[in-house]
């Protein structure tokens, strides 16, 4: 596709459940980013991949959050034992490389009941 694709667009889950959020970056983009946007706030950095490796995961809030990018393309953000406070829009972005322009997806709205 032409842009960054995120699936699902909406995810409703119950407290304590496990969820996976998927991001398909723009083809050829080596850098991939995850951000989280809570209601009424700006996006907050979670993790950055360069290729297959996590170059910076300093934004992950705790060890319930984990992300992978095994083949250097699609990435999955995984959240274990979800809490109501995890409810937010999770944004993915990709770029041709570090310090290049970021292209954002439309996000996944996660609601934890």
């Amino acid at each position: 596709g032409a842009g960054v694709s995120q699936t699902p667009s909406n995810k409703v889950t119950e407290k304590g459940k496990y969820v996976e959020l998927r991001c398909d970056p723009i083809s050829g983009h080596t850098a991939l980013y995850w951000y989280r946007q809570s209601l009424g706030q700006g996006p907050e950095f979670l993790i950055y991949f360069q290729g297959t490796g996590a170059a910076d995961d300093s934004g992950l809030p705790n060890d319930r959050f984990f992300a992978v990018r095994p083949e250097g393309s699609v990435s999955t953000l995984k959240i274990q034992r979800t809490e109501r406070g995890d409810s937010a829009v999770y944004l993915c972005a990709s770029s041709q490389g570090p310090n290049e322009k970021l292209f954002f997806g439309s996000g996944t709205q996660l609601s934890v009941l």
């Binding site: 700006g42 996006p43 950095f45 950055y48 170059a55 910076d56 934004g59 970021l102 292209f103």
Partner: protein, 114 residues
């Protein structure tokens, strides 16, 4: 540490009048500064970027921003608002060493009145 403060959570202007969205930054380094726009149900889109070249930066859709180091400001302006400009605008800072970690402001919602 880097941070930005967007001074107005909501700005309302009439169509055809000027737009001013205010942003002040704090950075330990020579910063890169950005403005992003977020339309409902659409991804964030880069409007413009400052990286220590010209202090007046021109972006898409007629927007521009001026970097003022003495005031630590990076305000976004447009001479004449259009209905399609109604959206959420974010001021963003990163250090030059790594644009991978962007620090977003809390956003300013722009309403354009016909």
């Amino acid at each position: 540490a880097q941070s930005v403060t967007q001074l107005d959570s909501h700005v309302s202007v009439s169509e055809g009048t000027p737009v001013l969205l205010r942003c002040n930054y704090s950075s330990s380094y020579s910063p890169s500064l950005f403005w992003y726009v977020q339309h409902p149900n659409k991804g964030l889109q880069l409007l413009l970027k400052y990286t220590s070249a010209a202090t007046l930066v021109k972006g898409i859709n007629g927007f521009e921003a001026e970097f003022k180091k003495s005031e630590t400001s990076f305000h976004l302006t447009k001479p004449s608002a259009h209905m399609s400009d109604a959206a959420e605008y974010f001021c963003v800072v990163s250090d030059l060493a790594g644009a991978n970690n962007l620090f977003f402001g809390t956003g300013t919602r722009l309403t354009v009145i016909p």
